[in-house]
């Protein structure tokens, strides 16, 4: 789970915080929160698709 969290942090920081300032703005936090949910969802879609293919 640590590896998934590290990757999510990296991908979402790159996407949601293009110009880092002195704090995380509200819109950056909204973006990060959605990005976290979507990256987990992408991970689930990939897992299902891959597992069903190699089963």
């Amino acid at each position: 789970a640590q590896e998934l969290l590290n990757k999510t942090n990296e991908k979402c920081f790159v996407k949601c915080v293009p110009k880092p300032s002195t704090s995380l703005s509200n819109s950056e936090q909204t973006c990060l929160s959605r990005c976290l949910d979507r990256y987990m969802e992408a991970f689930n879609i990939v897992s299902r698709t891959y597992i069903s293919r190699i089963s």
Binding site: L4, K7, K15, R34, R38, V46, T49, Y50
Partner: protein
């Protein structure tokens, strides 16, 4: 160990297909297009791996004949 390899592939595919399919700002849910793109991305990458192995086999047989 086989399980570790599957796990590591899932991480690699998630990262690769995320970059290919999710180009805008994340929304409250995926569009139908985004879901299909992620799922097709995994399937076509696996097709690509099989295709490449087949091509290499063909070339090896031509060299030996």
């Amino acid at each position: 160990q086989a399980q570790a390899r599957v796990h590591s592939s899932i991480h690699q595919f998630t990262s690769m297909c995320w970059d290919k399919c999710i180009t805008g700002t994340p929304s409250t849910s995926f569009s139908r297009n985004e879901v299909n793109c992620i799922s097709n991305c995994v399937e076509r990458f696996l097709d690509t791996s099989l295709f490449m192995v087949k091509k290499i086999e063909e070339q090896r047989q031509q060299l030996n004949s």
